[in-house]
């Protein structure tokens, strides 16, 4: 990358930064066995669950696995727009118990 590019703010990430980022991603997969596809699946499931209660900005969702000492954690950053304007689900109706002869 030339001096002029840097001066004009057309800076591309260096190959060193790219290498570091790629390594961190691939090692997350190596260490946890959580593949990018599994992460995507978890993201979809989270969206589905949360969408029952709140409206979500789907473009701003970030889900990652971070590294701690001896453990990993899944970190989800999910922007919420507002609560859903629907009445909360009714409590399940009690049904009369039918006794069976097995008892």
């Amino acid at each position: 990358m030339g001096f002029l590019d840097r001066l004009l703010g057309r800076a591309e990430p260096s190959s060193r930064d790219i290498a570091k980022e790629r390594l961190q991603l691939v090692l997350t997969t190596d260490r946890t066995n959580i593949s990018p596809a599994l992460l995507e699946q978890m993201k979809d499931d989270l969206i589905n669950t949360l969408s029952q209660h709140v409206e979500i900005d789907r473009t701003g969702i970030e889900l990652s696995v971070s590294q701690g000492r001896g453990y990993h954690r899944v970190v989800a950053d999910i922007p919420v727009l507002r609560a859903r304007e629907v009445p909360p689900p009714k409590p399940p109706r009690r049904t009369r118990r039918t006794t069976t002869s097995e008892e």
Binding site: S14, S15, R16, D17, A19, K20, R22, L23, Q24, V26, L27, D30, R31, Q67
Partner: protein, 265 residues
Amino acid sequence: MGARVITVTSGKGGVGKTTTTANLGVALAANEQRVACIDADIGLRNLDVVMGLENRIVYDIVDVVEGRARLRQALIRDKRLPELCLLPAAQTRDKSAISPSEMVQLVNDMRNDFDFILIDSPAGIEQGFKNAVAPADEVIIVTTPEVSAVRDADRIIGLVEAEEKGPARLIINRLRPAMVQRGDMLSREDVLDILAIDLIGIVPDDEAIIVSTNRGTPAAMHNHSPAGTAYRQIARRILGEDVPLLTPEPQTGLMARFSRWLRGE
């Protein structure tokens, strides 16, 4: 208990395990330590040529384990450094010729005669690696600042911990300070961020390593190359000396060369 047994390993091939073993062996022996280097890379032996002892092999490690030779018949004493010995690998056998428990037994038989036993591990994570790590008291992992080598080092760190041989210590080999500076190579900090492991040395990329391997005289033996100096410093750290671990800097400009000359490097 006798000797400290240190296994040098990496996962990925070609990052400098054998060069590291040879140079640390030389540097420790130069510090009046009795050192045995064991080549655990059965079938692909190379520690003998890197140390310049290939013409003196009569018996090898498999001969000893299988009882065809006694240990002292197989050990080759380096005439340049009388405290330094090599136990060569067999070239015509494979990794399954020795088991981890045989390796432990062999090394235990050697412990009383040496201060250090350095084991040069083969690449990979299969039986050769397991043989090399089984007798270890300590493990040194060699990596280069490249994506593939660092990834494999991470895997090896996990395996070493699983074998309860950790915590391993790291050597970053073949660092090119000028490339790091212009953003084209992982830095010391990058590698340590990713691997979260103790660093015991940085060896700069150095043509002197190829020249010394050509000659069969490890760089730590007498020349003042940057890599040879780095290996001698690592040996002093292994011996418990507090040697500052500086990151190599690019030596390009006239002033840099002058200051290098002043420091006698």
